[in-house]
């Protein structure tokens, strides 16, 4: 489903500027150094790739999501929501606030057009967790009154642009932190509390199972 990756060199970004950005953004520190978000935006360079990767592949270990091929509408909404505070992340909030509406749309479109190779998990889930994750993804759980993830996120979590992001091939660490953020209310940018309604009924084992499952799905084989 992904468009072929545009040539890397197509984007006029400053390597130095990127290099100056802190890498471990997941540790919720304010970006330090010479490159302020505003400066990054002003230079029209993608400050995103220090963490999200040159191809938008993300940084699993640091809970940074893969954003390559995610729909532009979805990405743009996330930037808007970081700026508005309905999605809580100080690093992303700083970046988003510094960007104009036009710039947000531009970055969103750029990553929507990218594709990145599938990155296998360092520690794949064991079979029993995969099975539980598959059940939640495809079927849901009546006892917990949780519907199938795929009902909104598309067959095998491939995403339903523009409404629901893909989950397939996403980092398990990121997905788990997103579910926990919905659950504890620090992320509240879901229409009708749709994700909160689901997340609040999942326990830690469910979250590990379902996020491990989706991380194991290699979209390039779909």
């Amino acid at each position: 489903m992904n468009a072929p990756a545009p040539p890397f060199a197509r984007f006029a970004f400053s390597f130095l500027l990127i290099a100056a950005l802190p890498c471990a953004l997941a540790a919720s520190a304010t970006p330090a150094g010479a490159a302020t978000p505003a400066a990054a935006a002003a230079a029209a360079a993608p400050p995103c790739e220090a963490c999200h990767g040159a191809h938008g592949e993300g940084m699993a270990a640091a809970h940074v999501p893969r954003i390559a091929g995610q729909s532009a509408d979805y990405l743009k909404k996330q930037l808007d929501d970081y700026a508005a505070g309905t999605r809580d992340n100080p690093i992303m909030a700083n970046f988003a606030k510094a960007l104009s509406q036009q710039q947000r749309a531009k970055f969103a479109a750029r990553y929507a057009a990218m594709s990145a190779r599938y990155i296998p998990q360092v520690k794949p889930p064991i079979a029993v967790h995969l099975a539980r994750g598959h059940q939640l993804a495809f079927q849901g759980d009546e006892a917990k009154r949780v519907q199938a993830c795929n009902a909104c996120h598309g067959p095998d979590g491939v995403g339903v642009p523009h409404a629901a992001p893909y989950l397939a091939g996403q980092s398990a660490e990121f997905l788990a932190s997103a579910l926990k953020a919905f659950k504890d209310g620090t992320r509240k940018n879901d229409a009708g509390e749709l994700m909160r309604s689901v997340a609040e009924r999942l326990d830690d084992a469910d979250i590990a199972a379902v996020t491990g499952y989706f991380a194991s799905v290699d979209l390039s084989t779909h």
């Binding site: 009546e142 009154r145 519907q147 009902a151």
Partner: protein, 589 residues
């Protein structure tokens, strides 16, 4: 030979909306209750999950959730002089089967009737004189008033979590709601759903003509909601698959999402599915029921003795259950005597299509079953009928529920019915057409009734139900009048072409109209013209209660489910606080 089972306090026939609520209340009050459901056990997970549940061919065209009419059909004819034939493919109306009943595939449109509706005969006489109506019209009062039912409407709406905007709270008109509604004690439990584009266009046009648009009351919820039973529902995602489908999101209020989790957790209740009830058994006096006889899914025959029998099946099946059991005198249209099967009525549905240029994009697929905007200015008795020659009316609304690809393709008159010309027209108009519904009342009439078919039998050898129905002239006149008003609204929206299709006779059973079959076991104050008294208790067999839209003496303007929910709680109140304390007749005949 039937195997006789251990006696229970209550047997409930049909575990749909009514059956679930009644069983839950009586089991919670300490009575041993058995629920007999002919269909299968089914839940949101796994049975209702997508992508399987969004299979339009399976559910929309092949009617997968409906009563199996290869085993249990109905027969139909327009007039008594015709030979009725079996309905082999459900089209005009869609009775469901299985745990949760027909409510599983409803749209969630949750209206109340108005005070006038419950005293229709009296009010019509008072306002328009006693000779106003066609003498064949057999409308009558319900035996209950709106004020009797108000607390029960309220309870039902709070069970469902209905999303809406009140128009009249305790007599005070509320801006943005329906000013014509009868007073409610408080607002809806959740705010209205988001308005779709067609609704917004309708609201502006109807408002510009001086009408009173308001958001459709919806039991596809606008936000998460925990009901008084402690069951939590989710917000609707506007997927466009309500009617004819089950909801995979726990967002549509159906027994599975509002009450079954509580009912099934009560050890006083036992659910038996795959059980086809053959009849309610009577003792030798024929005035007392001893229980029911049913056949299970593998063909074993059981007798389930019970002190109290409640039939809570789909409207037309309630009629049949009484006829098969010999409870109440069957109606004879030749003499006008008898009551069971009498006053069968329906709903009079008309449509208006407003065609726009391609710069007006309506996205019809972005909808829930009840996310529209409508007016009640031409509903019920909200306008003066003097000189019009009919009673009743219709709500007019942009209440389209979907844009599904197989079923939804509005095209203007003159379009070829197939081929390239048709395809081009579908592409051209799909996303640029606003559909209105004129959802109209239905008077009962002497010639319209149900009885047992003399020829056709079901898979268990029992006579099937025969429906004899055609649109009363009263309703055809009403449809013409209200549809013309709706066309004016379409023109006020600025449509390029507005096409009104007022309902005309004869009634056809081969075109979908609505699943709002009513009457046949009507309630009332007089045993000569009603099957059950005002508490829905059989006049003839006091330990049988009949609860369904079959209780309606005629059908009002609105979708019947809200009123059925109110009647259910009304009857439960009488059961718990009157009948079960002292079994016997609640009203002397």
């Amino acid at each position: 030979m039937a195997q006789r089972l251990k006696e229970v306090d209550v047997v409930v026939i049909g575990v749909g909306m009514v059956g679930s609520i009644v069983a839950k209340e009586l089991a919670a009050a300490g009575y041993k209750v058995v629920g007999l459901e002919r269909g299968q056990t089914r839940f949101t997970v796994p049975e209702f999950q997508s992508p399987a549940v969004h299979d339009e061919l399976r559910f929309d065209i092949r009617k997968a959730l409906m009563q199996d009419n290869t085993r249990e059909p109905v027969t139909f004819r327009n007039q008594g002089a015709q030979v009725a034939l079996p309905v082999r493919r459900w089209e005009s109306f869609l009775p469901g089967t299985g745990l949760g009943g027909s409510m599983v595939h409803w749209n969630g449109q949750t209206y109340r009737f108005q005070a006038t509706d419950f005293q229709l005969a009296t009010r019509t006489r008072e306002r328009y004189g006693k000779n106003f109506l066609d003498p064949d019209v057999t409308i009558q009062d319900w035996g209950v008033t709106y004020d009797d039912l108000e607390p029960h409407y309220d309870r039902f709406e709070y069970l469902l979590g209905t999303s809406g905007k009140a128009g009249n709270i305790k007599g005070r008109i509320q801006a943005g709601g329906d000013p014509h509604e009868s007073p409610r004690s408080r607002d809806y439990p959740t705010p209205p759903q988001k308005e779709h584009f067609q609704g917004a266009m309708f609201r502006k046009a109807a408002g510009s003509l001086g009408y009173h648009p308001f958001p459709q009351p919806s039991s596809n919820l606008s936000q998460p909601y925990t009901n008084p039973e402690g069951v939590k529902l989710n917000a609707c995602v506007f997927c466009g698959f309500c009617e004819r489908y089950a909801c995979e999101h726990y967002a549509k209020s159906v027994p599975q999402t509002v009450i079954l989790p509580v009912l099934l957790a009560n050890p006083n209740f036992e659910l038996r599915t795959g059980c086809q009830v053959q009849r309610i058994n009577l003792d030798s006096t024929k005035k007392h029921a001893t229980g029911v006889t049913y056949i299970d899914a593998v063909g074993r025959v059981f007798e389930q003795p019970a002190s109290l029998v409640i039939t809570s099946t789909f409207a037309i099946n309630n009629i049949r259950m009484l006829l098969l059991s010999g409870i109440g005198k069957p109606y004879d249209p030749a003499t006008g005597h008898g009551v069971v099967g009498r006053n069968y009525a329906y709903q009079t549905m008309s449509t208006v299509a407003s065609f726009f240029d391609e710069d007006v994009i309506v996205n019809p697929f972005m909808a829930s079953g009840a996310s529209g905007t409508l007016i009640n200015d031409f509903a019920g008795d909200n306008f003066d009928h003097s000189g019009l020659g009919f009673i009743g009316g219709a709500y007019i609304g942009a209440v389209n529920t979907n844009g599904r690809p197989i079923q939804y393709h509005p095209v203007p008159p003159g379009t070829p019915a197939w081929g390239k010309g048709w395809k081009q027209a579908v592409v051209k108009h799909y996303n640029h057409t606003v559909m209105f519904s004129c959802h109209g009342s239905s008077v009962s009439q002497r010639q319209n009734y149900c009885d047992l078919d003399p020829t056709y039998r079901d898979a268990w050898g029992q006579p099937v139900l025969r429906i004899t129905f055609d649109f009363p002239p009263n309703d055809i006149k009403m449809a013409a009048y209200v549809t013309a008003k709706a066309v004016e609204i379409g023109k006020a929206m600025g449509a390029k072409q507005v096409v009104g299709s007022p309902r005309k006779g004869p009634y056809t059973v081969t075109q979908y109209q609505t699943t709002h079959n009513t009457g046949g076991t009507v309630m009332g104050d007089d045993p000569k013209t009603s099957v059950v008294n005002r508490y829905l208790q059989s006049w003839d067999v006091p330990n049988v209660f009949v609860i369904g839209a079959s209780n309606y003496p005629q059908n009002a303007t609105w979708n019947p489910t809200g009123t059925l929910g109110a009647l259910t709680y009304w009857a439960i109140d009488a059961l718990k606080n009157k009948y079960l304390k002292s079994p016997g007749r609640l009203v002397s005949a």
